[in-house]
């Protein structure tokens, strides 16, 4: 009887030991899995990216610009080159819109004749200032924070803008409240 108890005890100790080892190994595994969310995995994604000289964006026009994902690496291929719409309102004020529709992220196209952005997926439409015009989007186009430095237009656009409560949306609210640079 005492022999059996000792074996049961040994089994319990062995299981406990395995539990400890498992928990110890789980820490790096979980941290590895969460790396897309933790800061370390995406260092520098919010850095300023240049869209080129301000003179490429004539006053009163909306033009397509592209930038390279600030944390791109070789295996990203063409997905690292991302477009956005730059609106030069009057030569001094700008708006930089994400290409992604605020409904479900499809690429919106600018139609200078009707001065509308239209989405090919579910029929969302926006006015030239990015405000919602019609269709399923619940809000206007996403805008990237921008600054003009040494004659270059720079934006912060390392994150895919999504309609949920993401960081990009908070930026948008700040932009709306502060006058453009």
């Amino acid at each position: 009887m005492s022999d059996l108890t000792r074996r049961q005890m040994s089994l319990r100790i062995a299981l406990l030991f395995n539990g400890f080892v498992g928990a110890f190994l789980a820490i790096p595994v979980v941290r590895y899995l969460l790396s897309p969310v933790t800061r370390g995995g995406n260092k520098g994604y919010d850095r300023w990216i240049s869209l080129g000289g301000v003179d490429q964006f004539p006053a009163g026009q909306t033009r397509l610009a592209t930038y390279r994902n600030p944390i791109a690496n070789a295996s990203d291929g063409e997905t690292a080159e991302i477009p956005c719409w730059v609106r030069n309102i009057d030569g001094t004020k700008f708006q930089v819109f994400a290409i992604n529709c605020a409904h479900l992220g499809c690429p919106v196209r600018w139609f200078p004749q009707s001065r509308l952005f239209m989405c090919p997926c579910h029929g969302g439409a926006y006015y030239e200032d990015g405000a919602r015009a019609s269709g399923p989007p619940e809000r206007g186009l996403f805008q990237y924070p921008f600054q003009v430095l040494n004659g270059k237009l720079q934006i912060q656009a390392g994150e895919l803008p999504t309609p949920g409560p993401s960081a990009a949306n908070k930026d948008l609210i700040n932009i709306r409240q502060t006058p453009c640079a």
């Binding site: 990203d76 991302i82 919106v108 009707s114 999504t162």
Partner: protein
């Protein structure tokens, strides 16, 4: 021959699998279940096996890297001998697998097979359906083209709407803050390791349960399921009027599976592989992303739901559907199995089928999307222009130049986002037309800032000519002469 028998005996002495395999093959099934209605589960497993084999073959060439995936698909399509055919088999295998899994589920539901004691078989089946859908979505992403790239954006936008954890979910889904190489790599891991591993394990459990609790007997109106005596009755059924699964039941399974494989091969040969469409280059924005057919209904639903209902429907809808499906065998675990005595069950299936069919067929021509190039390719018919004043013709020019045609059809061409305008002058007076154009309303953007007064006048004078011959223009009754 003797050598084979000796070798087989030598193996079986060590493995000792012969007896259990024989008893499994010969397990008794109710005589009526050796039926053509009972072949869908085995066909789903056969197609899954085809998917595993063709998937392994594709993985020998496919490069799961965002910079190389599209090129490796081109190599498969054009350079590797019969690479296109293996891709086509895998793509059509996916379509057939989803269709068979759904038919299997409908059959099981209508035959009451989810009732006591097969609740767990049904529940595992629900998870198998979810994983099959997961395989379809992740597989569509591995075909790394424009549709895959923007489809990922749609997936991320939907995930972002989950309260509180939305932004975290987006980053976990994409493997970072933006769609990039890491996104494809993790979808590859899910499509090739995680989901297939779970699928194999759950299919094993699903089949084990069919063997342990027995295949559902052919339902008879009036033969009720009761927890108290069902097992005993089923035992009597299989042991007094039962037949061995092999060969009575299995030959129909084998014939149907063979036919399905032939059908997949025929589709693969005739229609070829799916895509890839354009390169996954986000700079190419002249694209209209569409999901594969099994998610078309969702694409339609997302276009047609009122905006404020969309997030609740996206987040709560699937949760309710899952709870209903999982709870079904516990809520209605007893009673009638036959579909003739279960009108609500039949109506539910008809309603779901009609809804999905309607949404899918609407998604086929997507009337909610503006036709992006209608103003350049869809000309206004000369019939609508002949005999018009210069102002009205100028209005037709404005109509075309301001891209009204992208959303409004005229003479059968153009978009369907807004109403067709062939008879708009019958519905709206001149003043109402001006108001609608300048201020928008309904689903129409306001054009007040984009049209100068001359353009507006011309456009409205053209629109006022749009009424069928013989029908009068709309007029404002309050401004007309008072009739005595």
């Amino acid at each position: 021959m003797r050598l084979i028998r000796t070798a087989a005996k030598w193996l079986d002495d060590r493995l000792q699998l012969g007896a259990p395999i024989r008893s499994t093959m010969e397990h008794p099934i109710p005589r009526d279940t050796a039926s053509w209605f009972y072949v869908f589960g085995s066909a789903a497993i056969t197609v899954f096996a085809l998917q595993v084999i063709t998937g392994i073959l594709l993985a020998m060439i496919y490069v799961p890297s965002a910079s190389e995936a599209w090129n490796s698909l081109q190599i498969l399509n054009h350079q590797i001998s019969l690479g296109w055919f293996i891709r086509a088999l895998h793509g059509w295998g996916c379509n057939f697998m989803l269709a068979i899994v759904l038919v299997h589920m409908v059959q099981v539901f209508l035959f009451g097979a989810y009732k006591f004691p097969r609740e767990l078989t049904w529940i595992i089946g629900i998870f198998l359906l979810l994983m099959t859908l997961g395989m379809a979505f992740t597989g569509q992403v591995l075909r790394f083209d424009q549709d895959a790239y923007w489809g990922l954006g749609i997936g991320a936008s939907i995930s972002s709407r989950v309260p509180i954890v939305g932004p975290v979910l987006v980053k976990l889904l994409l493997g970072g803050p933006i769609i990039a190489g890491a996104t494809l790599s993790r979808f590859f891991a899910f499509h090739v390791f995680v989901i297939p591993g779970l699928l194999i394990a759950l299919v094993g459990l699903h089949v084990l349960l069919v063997l342990k609790v027995g295949v559902n007997e052919w339902p008879m109106p009036g033969r009720l399921v009761r927890r108290s005596d069902y097992v005993e009755k089923y035992h009597t059924l299989t042991h007094t009027d039962g037949v061995p699964f092999v060969p009575y039941g299995v030959w129909k399974d084998a014939v149907f599976s063979g036919l399905i494989l032939l059908a997949i091969a025929a589709c693969a040969l005739y229609f070829g592989p799916f895509g890839p469409s354009g390169q996954p280059d986000p700079r190419v924005i002249q694209t209209a992303p569409r999901p594969d057919y099994f998610f078309l209904w969702l694409y339609a639903l997302l276009s047609l739901l009122p905006p404020q209902l969309e997030t609740p429907a996206l987040l709560i809808g699937p949760a309710i559907a899952l709870i209903v499906l999982l709870g079904l065998p516990f809520v209605s675990g007893e009673g009638e199995k036959h579909w003739r005595r279960r009108p609500i069950a039949v109506l539910t299936i008809v309603l779901i089928a009609v809804s999905l069919g309607t949404f899918n067929s609407m998604a086929d021509h997507a009337p909610w999307s503006p036709v992006m190039d209608a103003s350049t390719f869809a000309a206004i018919s000369s019939k609508l222009l002949s005999g018009r004043t210069p102002l009205q013709i100028q209005g037709a020019l404005v109509f075309q130049e301001k891209q009204c045609h992208n959303c409004h059809a005229l003479g059968g061409t153009g978009g369907q986002r807004g109403p067709a305008l062939d008879a708009v002058a019958v519905r709206l007076t001149g003043d109402q037309l001006v108001r609608q154009v300048l201020q928008g309303g309904g689903n129409m953007p306001a054009y007040g800032k984009n049209l100068n007064p001359a353009e507006t006048t011309a456009l409205v004078s053209f629109l006022q000519t749009l009424h069928p011959a013989g029908s009068a223009e709309a007029n404002n009754a309050s401004q007309g002469p008072v009739q005595p």
